[in-house]
């Protein structure tokens, strides 16, 4: 068996923060703590020695930003780290990049780790682009000789040839980011930690950056840990991901699965009860009871038939109309339709309480979408649920490559006649 080498091993890493204000009114407290620290003893107020770390957590006003995280990263792998705000992603990255120390646990590494946490730190506005490339490179751990050998490449990648000898304070913010990313991307650490840098820069540069990251991992065999809220990027770059929730690692494995799990919280992906939905518009009757997509289990795939079953309680209605509306991750409306558009009235049948909405070939590009549902009595809406269910759409086509991230939310099957 071809076992890939483990380059980074994270074992039971935890990080504790104290709630409230630190260091005020407790000088004696602090002095005592300091005295213990100086002697290399354990903090008397934390008691987080490995033996008793679990037993004491409940007693104090300390919180665990991350707790007992363990995973391995293999050489040449791009590992995605997914989680909501406050899940502990940044704390984990800070510990990995040695900015702060774990409260307990060990990280072992076989390679230099360099981090790209918010690029551009350490740029001095008065220094020229050239001087800043050297300074920033050195801050990130390169030697002068290394930077010199890559200098032209960096400048070219950033696309700032004209401004190399201009102070950075005259740069546009976009240029600064490009320059900073360029420096970091030409680092040669075995492990690169990247956090949300791609949120900045124009589409063209983002593409360049993603491409560079792919080169780094695939071409050069280096390892990348990648944190982003953008699931498309994660999906494009990472083969394996870990999911953090409230400081704990809830899942690790195949990126597609992890994303699916993340987008849905911990509930089932394609089934959602609507009885007491929090997004039901005020004053509406709870007629829609449950929505099931497909058979409730199979993946939704671009270009394939899409079925959505909505369970209803129709006792009070003789006839009804129904509509749907898709929104993308940014909340933009992608497509919508309703029975009125088709001049169709649905007559209530005693023996049937589920209406099925069918879209023959789903024209949505792979990403995450929400569906809002509307139900009317033929004259006006009597039940509206905004973003009733959110689910991912996947790409599964052997002959066609998936559309790029910035090609929009829809995909139309195209033939090329010539």
């Amino acid at each position: 068996m071809k076992e890939k080498e483990v380059i980074l091993r994270v074992e039971n890493v935890s990080k504790q923060y104290r709630l409230g204000v630190i260091g005020t009114g407790t000088i004696s407290h602090d002095l005592n703590r300091w005295w213990h620290k100086i002697r290399g003893k354990e903090d008397p107020y934390k008691r987080i020695g490995e033996e008793n770390k679990r037993s004491t957590t409940g007693k104090s006003d300390y919180v665990w930003a991350i707790k007992d995280i363990s995973f391995d990263v293999h050489r040449g792998e791009v590992l995605g780290i997914i989680g909501k705000n406050g899940a502990g992603k940044s704390t984990l990255l800070k510990i990995l990049s040695k900015v702060t120390m774990p409260t307990s646990g060990v990280i072992r590494s076989k390679g230099r780790i360099a981090s790209l946490l918010e690029v551009g730190t350490g740029f001095h506005p008065e220094l020229t682009g050239k001087e800043n490339i050297f300074l920033n490179g050195a801050i990130l751990g390169m030697t002068k000789a290394e930077i010199k050998s890559k200098f032209d490449e960096i400048v070219e990648f950033a696309g700032v040839q004209r401004y190399v000898n201009t102070p950075v304070k005259r740069y546009s913010s976009g240029m600064k980011v490009r320059l900073a990313f360029a420096v970091a991307a030409h680092l040669e650490p075995e492990i690169l930690v990247v956090d949300e840098v791609l949120a900045v820069g124009d589409a063209e540069f983002q593409k360049k950056a993603i491409g560079k990251m792919q080169d780094i991992s695939k071409g050069e065999g280096r390892t990348v840990l990648f944190v982003s809220h953008d699931m498309t990027n994660i999906q494009n770059l990472c083969t394996r991901s870990i999911l953090l929730e409230n400081g704990k690692m809830v899942l690790q494995g195949d990126t597609v699965n992890v994303i699916k799990h993340y987008l849905q919280g911990s509930e089932e992906t394609y089934v959602k009860s609507l009885e007491a939905h929090k997004n039901r518009k005020k004053g509406m009757q709870a007629i829609m009871q449950k929505v099931t997509i497909g058979d409730g289990n199979a993946k939704v795939i671009t270009g394939k038939e899409f079925q959505m079953h909505v369970k209803l309680t129709l006792d009070t209605l003789k006839e009804f109309s129904i509509g749907y509306l898709f929104k993308n991750e940014k909340g933009q409306v992608i497509m919508a339709s309703n029975t009125n558009q088709y001049g169709t009235k649905l007559i209530t049948k005693k023996e049937k309480n589920t209406v099925t909405i069918v879209i023959k070939a789903l024209p949505l590009a792979p990403a995450s979408y929400s569906v809002s549902l509307f139900l009317g009595n033929g004259k006006y809406d009597i039940d509206i649920i905004e973003d009733a269910i959110t689910f991912p759409v996947f790409w599964e086509n052997e002959h066609i490559l998936p559309p790029s991230k910035n090609w929009g939310s829809t995909f139309g099957s195209t033939s090329w006649e010539y």
Partner: protein, 289 residues
């Protein structure tokens, strides 16, 4: 590509435990280029967009010496032996300034660099080290002015004679650097928690100067003040350094090799304490600052 390694062969480890005396000198050496680039940055950017630029290096010690001469030698009538009072004060201020500047600049290392420290790791001690080195440059310029004035006063025979002990000048500068850096690191570590210490530094340096024999010879203190007070000056390592420096250039005052060596010992000790506290702080300061 590396040769295949066993799984136990890790390059490094990050954990909550650390050796108190682990100074990671190897790592600091690896980052030496960064040290020099920081020095360069400090020097290049310090006087950008100022009118007088590096002239400030000269104006500050000269004006201070003039004032001291007026007050302490003119009004208070402190005698400075064969040496011109202005030159005497300039000597004290020149060597004192190196210490004061190092201390002032290093004492808010953590606070000032919070932003960059919070995002990238490099041995934090590089920062105060670079400050100490870039101040050395400033010190060099100020020594330059001192030499110019020394030449002038020597022509009028008001500058004493140079002592052969001048070869120990590097040691004296080293002591001042170590003291400034050591104390600065201790204070900067404490500032991460108690912000008001920064105000104390400015004020404290002022006070310290008055008990460090900068503008008077040490002998006068011992002669004029009761021992219950004069010991503050007599056993103050800073005062010893200032006095030794003056002896080297003027052959006036007190001096002995043991004197210098014991002070070097003290400064090394303070530096070491500073380094330990600094290393302890750097691990987690970002959570408290």
């Amino acid at each position: 590509m590396d040769t295949p390694q066993k799984n136990t062969n890790w390059l490094f480890e990050i954990s909550s435990k650390s050796n108190l005396l682990d100074f990671k000198f190897k790592e600091i050496w690896q980052y030496r280029d960064l040290l020099m680039l920081f020095v360069r940055r400090d020097v290049v950017t310090l006087y950008k967009q100022t009118i007088l630029g590096p002239l400030w290096y000269l104006i500050q010690p000269l004006l201070t010496s003039v004032i001291f001469t007026l007050v302490f030698n003119g009004i208070a009538d402190i005698k400075t032996g064969n040496v011109n009072a202005f030159l005497f004060n300039l000597a004290g201020i020149t060597i004192w300034n190196y210490f004061a500047e190092c201390l002032k600049a290093t004492s808010d290392t953590f606070k000032k660099n919070e932003n960059i420290f919070g995002k990238v790791y490099f041995p934090r001690v590089i920062m105060p080290l670079s400050i100490t080195v870039s101040n050395l440059l400033k010190f060099g310029i100020q020594i330059g002015i001192f030499i110019a004035f020394y030449g002038y006063f020597a022509y009028y025979n008001e500058a004493g004679t140079i002592s052969s002990n001048l070869i120990l000048l590097p040691v004296i500068v080293l002591i001042m650097g170590l003291l400034g850096l050591g104390l600065g690191m201790i204070i900067s570590s404490m500032v991460t928690k108690y912000r008001d210490l920064t105000f104390l530094v400015q004020f404290g340096i002022q006070l310290l100067m008055y008990v460090s024999a900068v503008m008077y010879p040490m002998a006068i203190v011992i002669q004029k003040l009761p021992t219950s007070i004069s010991w503050i000056v007599e056993y103050n390592p800073l005062a010893r350094v200032v006095e030794s420096f003056r002896y080297m250039v003027f052959t006036e005052g007190e001096f002995s090799i043991q004197y210098v060596l014991s002070t070097l010992g003290i400064s090394l000790f303070i530096f070491l304490i500073g380094l330990i506290i600094f290393n302890k702080t750097e691990r987690n300061f970002i959570d408290t600052v």
